[in-house]
Amino acid sequence: MLEGVNDPVDNPGSGLVRSRTSRTRRNLGLAALVLTPLLLSSCTVPGFGAASGVTDASHKTYKLWQGFMITGLIVGGLTLFLIVYAALRYRRKSDAIPRQTQYVTWIEILYTVIPTIIVGVLFYVTIVVENPEVARVAHPPAKINVVAFQWGWRFSYPGYPNISTVGQTTQNPVMVMPVGETDAVTLTSLDVIHGFYVKEFNYSEYAQPGVTNRFDVHVDTVGSYQSQCTQLCGLYHSLMYFKVVAIPAADYHACLTSASDGPTFVACAEKALATAGSQMTANVRPTQGALSHHG
């Protein structure tokens, strides 16, 4: 044996052992008492670093995230507690050989069945959130085609052949979206794979060569959302910016019909954003997570 590896610890009497155990049980009960009301009132549930975002789907994703985090903290916390408790509680007290327990069937069944149930529930709620998120509207009131390339974006609007915005890297091209309407976004790429990701949508999808993906977004908050490519696409990947400008649907359609080309359309949209923004100052730049939305 190695010398000086362990500090010898007094062997506690059995009475002490029992009182420790019951104290632990009491603490657990107390924790459950504190946690339950916290779980029941949705308003006090923290965001765990995430934000609710600005689309219908992003709010649901946010709630799913909260649910997963709470489950994760409970399951992970319990496991962590058991690890640390076992390690400290059963540190060496004597050279005696402890009882050589190898199988306790009912415990093994228990910790197979309970995780299976938890996982089943998690899968169910995942499907509940996922299905509407990947569903497609038959006749979307607004459409936008997004084409990614090294290292920029082109945004064009079906039905308005003159209006398209192209920009690369720090030119930060603007993508205009209506608030309160479902916008069908198609994604493709001219060269390599790019990642379309808007933080406030809590959503990302690849723009890939040879594939046209579509997803539907229903933005509900006016604002300007700075975004960038998330999938490694070469040298200027970290500078491949774009910006989403979400303006009221009426303004959106008005700008589309009045504008003669891309730049005038973007100018019209940003003017609409400024007007709408001065009316709703709270939501102009919700990128800092200071969103007061509780869905």
Partner: protein, 569 residues
């Protein structure tokens, strides 16, 4: 050629045996087919790779301490993180586990004189070493090393986007190390199937050997797919095929399917050996048998089986995969992983835990891997994956996992070092190293989760528009540097130990498995004698003939909280 006779019985401790009369020095290194020499070569080479990959990580973290870092250029940054990932995954984690410690320990753990195919084993090492050199050669050629990420997504890795020789060297390196892994897999499976000592039935094998068997099978199932994918990538680059080229009717997504069909089993090829190490260590230092041995074996097999059906959870945001299938399979895989956790806890429960450095590392592994596992379950949900895909949340998730593996590697090294060298690593330095590594890993990964939720994409050389991310990034870098410092402590410890006396003896930890029955270091062909094998703990049985028998506590529902009552009976 040395003909090997099985040792007779445990009584013949001084049984005369031919010592190895091979060449010495550099020629020994070049020509040895002894699994112990090859295992040691693998271990040392892979730790050098860990240091090199770690150095890349230090540079990456230095770059990210400011929003417009100027430590490296954008182009160099892409090379750095590509080579960091490639070196760590292809050249450190796998080879360390299945080439290094497994190569050394598996034959001894099952009472075999060597691997089944010793010369193939030597070839594996040479392919691994040359593969490693090939990959690092990328920095020496015009155009620099590969720069398309360790996953090499087509079409970013095609001839148009990655024209340099660095990309070809990357492919070549993966071909070499891939064949090296396949040969090692063949060797492990054949050794375990054919060279076990009498009485060593499959369900008496040490759990590390079980894990290596399953790892070996997974290697055989997964690596050929990667090799095929790489050959097609090379053909696209040089022979004018258009397999991954969308502009000529090819399918870029095919690369992702092939890559991750290898890549996700690969995650378990990396993880299972370290699970195995920790599973050896925890019961030994708790002086208890492994709790739920059979459950552990079946959990390992279940993980292997399920791991072949989860690959596309890396591709949820491609919009082209069957979301519910892969989500469900990924959830399922968390169940056997959970069983492992509770078996580890059960092994500690009611024990007499000695906090050696190896045990500390093993507990550190449990905690770090727990964080990685829980965040993995979050990522298995497609909506939450859409939310965090390609952000630092994912980076932090898999770094929690791989940092757990590094901690597990250290546990294995501190545990087996006395067996391999006959010398103890310094425990005091070991514990200091543990706290730097464990706390460093936590400080390094935790800010990453928050940064990901704030929207920081991965593989970013600069974050000009978001100076508010700087504080968390700096904190993360401090954690990374703590990890770097812990590695220096390990190197100091290992070098210092070469001057200490050989005091380990055959069984310093009062351990369970056969490698602790033979001398430290083991002789050529491993054993002078073997005990009768009647359980999965032959060495323990030999040293503790009077120890209380194993118990099956089926009728004692009060067992868990009150185990201590029976402790000193």
């Amino acid at each position: 050629m040395v003909d090997v006779l099985e040792p007779q019985t445990a009584a013949h401790d001084d049984h005369g045996h031919d010592e190895h009369h091979g060449p010495s020095g550099i020629m020994n290194w070049l020509t040895s087919t002894d699994h112990k020499v090859i295992g040691l070569n693998y271990t040392v080479t892979s730790i050098i790779m860990l240091v090199i990959g770690g150095a890349f990580a230090m540079l990456i973290r230095a770059q990210l301490t400011t929003p417009n870092g100027s430590v490296v250029t954008l182009a160099q940054y892409n090379e750095l993180f590509t080579m960091h990932g490639s070196v760590m995954i292809y050249l450190f984690a796998g080879p360390f586990a299945f080439g290094g410690l497994a190569n050394y320990m598996v034959p001894i753990q099952i009472g075999a004189p060597d691997m089944a195919f010793p010369r193939l084993n030597a070839l594996s090492y040479w392919l691994y070493l040359t593969g490693s050199i090939t990959m690092l050669l990328g920095f020496a050629v015009a155009g620099g090393a590969a720069n398309f990420g360790w996953v090499g997504y087509a079409p970013l890795s095609d001839a148009l986007n990655a024209p340099g020789a660095g990309a070809d060297l990357w492919i070549g390196a993966l071909l070499l190390t891939g064949f090296s892994a396949i040969f090692t897999g063949v060797n492990l499976v054949a050794t375990i199937f054919y060279l076990r000592a009498p009485g060593m039935t499959m369900f008496r094998m040490p759990i590390f050997t079980w894990n290596m068997l399953v790892t070996g099978i997974l290697i055989l199932l997964a690596f050929p797919v990667l090799t095929a994918g790489l050959v097609m990538l090379y053909a696209d680059r040089h022979f004018g095929t258009h397999i991954y080229d969308a502009n000529h009717g090819g399918v870029p997504i095919l690369w992702q399917n092939i890559f991750w069909f290898w890549g996700h089993p690969e995650v378990y090829i990396l993880a299972l050996p370290f699970f195995g190490m920790v599973t050896e260590i925890i019961p030994v230092f708790s002086r208890k048998p492994l709790f739920g041995y059979k459950g552990m074996v079946f959990a390992t097999i279940a993980i292997a089986a399920l791991s072949t059906g989860v690959w596309a959870h890396h591709m949820f945001t491609t919009g082209t995969v069957l979301l519910p299938f892969f989500s469900f399979m990924t959830y399922l895989i968390s169940i056997p992983t959970g069983i492992k956790f509770f078996n580890w806890i059960g092994s500690m429960w009611g024990g007499q835990i000695r906090f050696t450095a190896a045990m500390l590392f093993a507990i550190g592994f449990l905690i770090t891997f727990l964080i990685g596992g829980i965040t993995g379950i979050i990522l298995a949900s497609p909506p939450l994956d859409f939310f965090t895909h390609d952000t630092y949340f994912v980076v932090a998730h898999f770094h929690s996992v791989v940092m757990a593996l590094v901690i597990g590697a250290m546990a294995g090294l501190y545990y087996w070092f006395p067996k391999i060298t006959g010398r103890f690593l310094n425990e005091r330095i070991g514990k200091a190293q543990f706290w730097f590594l464990f706390l460093g890993s936590t400080i390094f990964t935790m800010p990453g989760y928050l940064l990901g939720l704030k929207g920081m994409p991965r593989r970013m050389a600069v974050y000009t528009l978001h100076p508010e991310w700087q504080h968390l990034n700096t904190l993360s870098s401090v954690g990374a540097w703590m990890i770097g410092f812990s590695t220096i402590l390990f190197v100091i410890n290992a070098v210092k130990t070469t001057r200490s006396p050989k005091t380990a003896g055959p069984n310093p930890w009062d351990a369970h498995t056969l490698e602790w029955f033979t001398t430290s270091p083991p002789p050529h062909h491993n054993f002078y004698a073997l005990p009768n094998i009647r359980s999965e703990r032959p060495t323990w049985d030999y040293y503790h003939p009077d120890a209380p028998a194993l118990t099956h506590d089926d009728h004692d529902p009060s067992h868990m909280p009150n185990a201590a009552k029976g402790a000193t009976k």
